[in-house]
């Protein structure tokens, strides 16, 4: 029973994640939505990837621009292993394929890490960027290992499941991804509490001091990089199982950037930050991009808003509420939030409408697309929608400024109270 009480968050998350796809279950046809399951599997994989990235950035203070190299090489290893299994050369349960990816990622983590971890800070960042470029170019040039442009494709149905699962449906794969995501996340969480994990924090804070308590920062970096490669490789192995193909873009700079963005948006400070960040990033990329071809602009704006107003990421915003929650007055923020919500929504809708109008007049119109909201076609040349968008933006901004003042007063008062009660120092 205490187990349940101690780990209720994990259990709750598991239940929610298992139940969530059923919201999109198509009862008339009796099948899951493949899109939703694939998207959620993608989130699972990218969450592991982002967490492994945070082992470098959050834990050890290492900014990498080439983390996808480890994901991709792990994925290639897993793909080759699956093909060997399929050919009958070796035997491996389907469930352990991600582990093969993990070992591959770990191997390359060690080999490449030996090179990159000689330096730290900006030099480290630049070396990883250079390596990322080199590996992604090599992935296109060398057919043997990387399969060239077509990549390496696999068939995940290989009848070696430990549980007799065929892995034909996305649902089965999703369950496997979920299981591995939980295992990997827990292992990574535990890793933060090991001597290596703590010393990685120490080298992040003050690498010189770490030397004078007996540690070689380079070895710390190397081990941390190698372990991070292991988990990135697991993500790579799962990637292979979901998409049944691995191509050169898994090692690309764009994938690396995704990890960085997810970690930063979610917040590098808390363990769960990168997971939140991943959800936002994946939904933006794979969800919003289906609706609007201006999605990159929204991503850009989101980053700028985040770095300017919420440098601690989403998790930082949540943690800000902890003191108020501790003194039991979180409820008092409900009303201010509710009051700030409509103007915030207004600003956002105004902005989105404006961008979409612009985008449709310049690009969309040429594509012969019609700008439709809920089936109503909107004429982008008429002045009315533009006026509405501008008005919503401007009025919303003014309104939110007014609300912000009241909100801030309430917030400061509550924090003050929390300080008085000694919850915050």
């Amino acid at each position: 029973m205490s187990l349940v009480r101690r780990h209720w968050v994990w259990l709750l998350a598991l239940v929610v994640l298992l139940a969530f796809p059923f919201l999109f279950f198509d009862w008339s046809k009796g099948r899951h939505s493949g899109f939703v399951l694939t998207l959620m599997s993608e989130i699972g994989v990218m969450a592991i990837f982002a967490l492994s990235y945070n082992m470098l950035m959050g834990q050890a203070g290492l900014l990498s621009f080439g983390h996808a190299v480890l994901l991709g090489l792990g994925a290639y290893c897993a793909a080759h292993v699956v093909n060997l299994v399929k050919a009958g050369t070796i035997w491996l349960p389907t469930e352990l394929v991600p582990l093969a990816g993990g070992l591959g990622g770990m191997f390359f983590g060690f080999v490449l890490g030996w090179l990159v971890t000689r330096q730290r800070a900006t030099a480290f960042a630049m070396i990883t960027m250079g390596l990322g470029e080199l590996v992604s170019a090599a992935a296109l040039m060398f057919m043997g290992f990387f399969g060239g442009e077509g990549g390496i494709s696999i068939d995940r149905v290989m009848d070696t499941s430990l549980f007799g699962v065929a892995y034909t449906s996305p649902w089965q794969v999703y369950c496997l991804v979920l299981a591995w995501a939980f295992i990997a996340a827990m292992l990574m969480r535990l890793q933060t509490q090991t001597p290596l994990g703590r010393i990685a924090n120490a080298t992040r804070d003050n690498f010189e001091r770490a030397q004078f308590v007996g540690y070689d920062p380079r070895i710390v970096r190397l081990l941390q990089f190698t372990l991070s490669g292991f988990f990135a490789g697991i993500a790579g192995g799962l990637y292979v199982l979901i998409y049944e193909i691995v191509t050169f873009d898994t090692v690309s700079a764009a994938k690396s950037a995704n990890a960085l963005l997810a970690v930063y948006i979610g917040g590098a400070g808390g363990f769960f930050g990168p997971i939140l960040g991943t959800i936002v990033v994946v939904l933006l990329q794979s969800g919003v991009s289906l609706l609007s071809n201006a999605w990159l602009l929204y991503v850009g704006v989101l980053f700028i808003v985040m770095v300017m107003y919420a440098p601690g990421g989403l998790i930082g915003l949540i943690f800000m509420h902890v003191p108020i929650w501790r003194i039991g007055r979180l409820r008092e923020l409900l009303l201010p939030y509710a009051r700030a919500f409509p103007p915030a929504l207004m600003v956002m809708l105004g902005f989105v409408l404006l961008v979409e109008l612009l985008s449709f007049t310049t690009i969309g119109a040429a594509q012969g697309k019609k700008f439709a909201i809920g089936g109503n076609v909107i004429d982008t040349t008429a002045p009315l929608p533009w006026l509405i968008a501008l008005a919503a933006l401007v009025l919303g901004a003014l309104w939110i400024r007014r609300e912000a003042r009241g909100f801030r007063e309430r917030w400061d008062a509550l924090i003050e109270d929390a300080k008085r009660q000694g919850v915050v120092s």
């Binding site: 703590r198 001091r209 030397q211 308590v213 540690y215």
Partner: protein, 250 residues
């Protein structure tokens, strides 16, 4: 008779064309509390940096417990049983006070780079860290990020990290700099108690601290040792008076 704890022979150090340390010989026997004094720019901190391996020497040799430290990285010298503190506070600001101390303990307790031990379950280690915290009078600050401590508390933590590993030889670089009188007294008591039975080498400007603690004093002026003797003799040394103490006394 075993080898001295720290032994310097004809050590020099140059930065570019400027010679900061100009042929220092120094031998510190085990168990001695030794202070290095000298005017600003005499090269005291540089000497510390050489002994602890932060910089390589330009010429000469340094031995710790009879072993040459030539070519050794700071962490390797540390593992020979030498630990140092810094003049400018050097702690792990984003980690808690407790974590800071525990990091100082990890290597000496044999955990090395382990990623298979969970620290929460290492009772002996955690108890040792807590015991040291109590000694440092930082027990009630245990779970605060170290960066939020007051200056004096950070200095105490600095000393704590330095001695946590149980090093035989402790180098303290101006441990009481910038402290008020009462804080200094507390710090002196702390240093006295933690250096019990160990070799202590310290750089210090506060003469009351130096004369109160040191068994022997070395005076460094412009990168050269002009005297090295027991406190009473140093007090009476004319050259020292002139070069250094004289200005203080005047």
């Amino acid at each position: 008779m075993s080898a001295p704890a720290v032994e310097l022979k004809a050590v020099t150090k140059s930065f570019g064309r400027t010679e900061i340390i100009r042929g220092v010989d120094l031998s510190i026997p085990r168990g001695e509390r030794h202070a290095i004094i000298g005017p600003n720019g005499a090269g005291k901190t540089t000497l510390f940096n050489l002994i602890s391996g932060r910089f390589p020497v330009s010429s000469g040799t340094i031995a710790v417990n009879g072993r040459s430290t030539a070519g050794l990285a700071p962490q390797e010298i540390n593992r020979l049983g030498l630990s140092r503190s810094f003049q400018i506070t050097s702690i792990f600001p984003r980690m808690t006070v407790f974590e800071n101390i525990r990091c100082g303990l990890l290597w000496s307790q044999g955990y090395r780079y382990s990623f298979w031990h969970l620290l929460g379950g290492q009772k002996k280690l955690n108890d040792a860290a807590d015991a040291l915290l109590e000694r440092l009078k930082l027990g009630d600050r245990r779970n605060l990020p170290a960066g939020l401590l007051s200056y004096a508390e950070q200095r105490a933590l600095e000393i704590g990290i330095t001695i946590a590993g149980g090093a035989e030889i402790i180098l303290l670089d101006e441990p009481t700099a910038g402290m008020s009188n009462s804080e200094t007294d507390a710090a002196v008591e702390l240093i006295r108690s933690v250096s019990e039975g160990k070799t202590l080498l310290m750089v210090e400007h506060d003469m009351s601290v130096v004369f109160g603690l040191a068994d022997r004093i070395t005076v460094l002026v412009y990168g050269e040792v002009i005297a090295s003797d027991v406190p009473a003799a140093i007090r009476g040394n004319a050259a020292v008076q002139e070069a250094y103490l004289g200005t203080v006394a005047a």
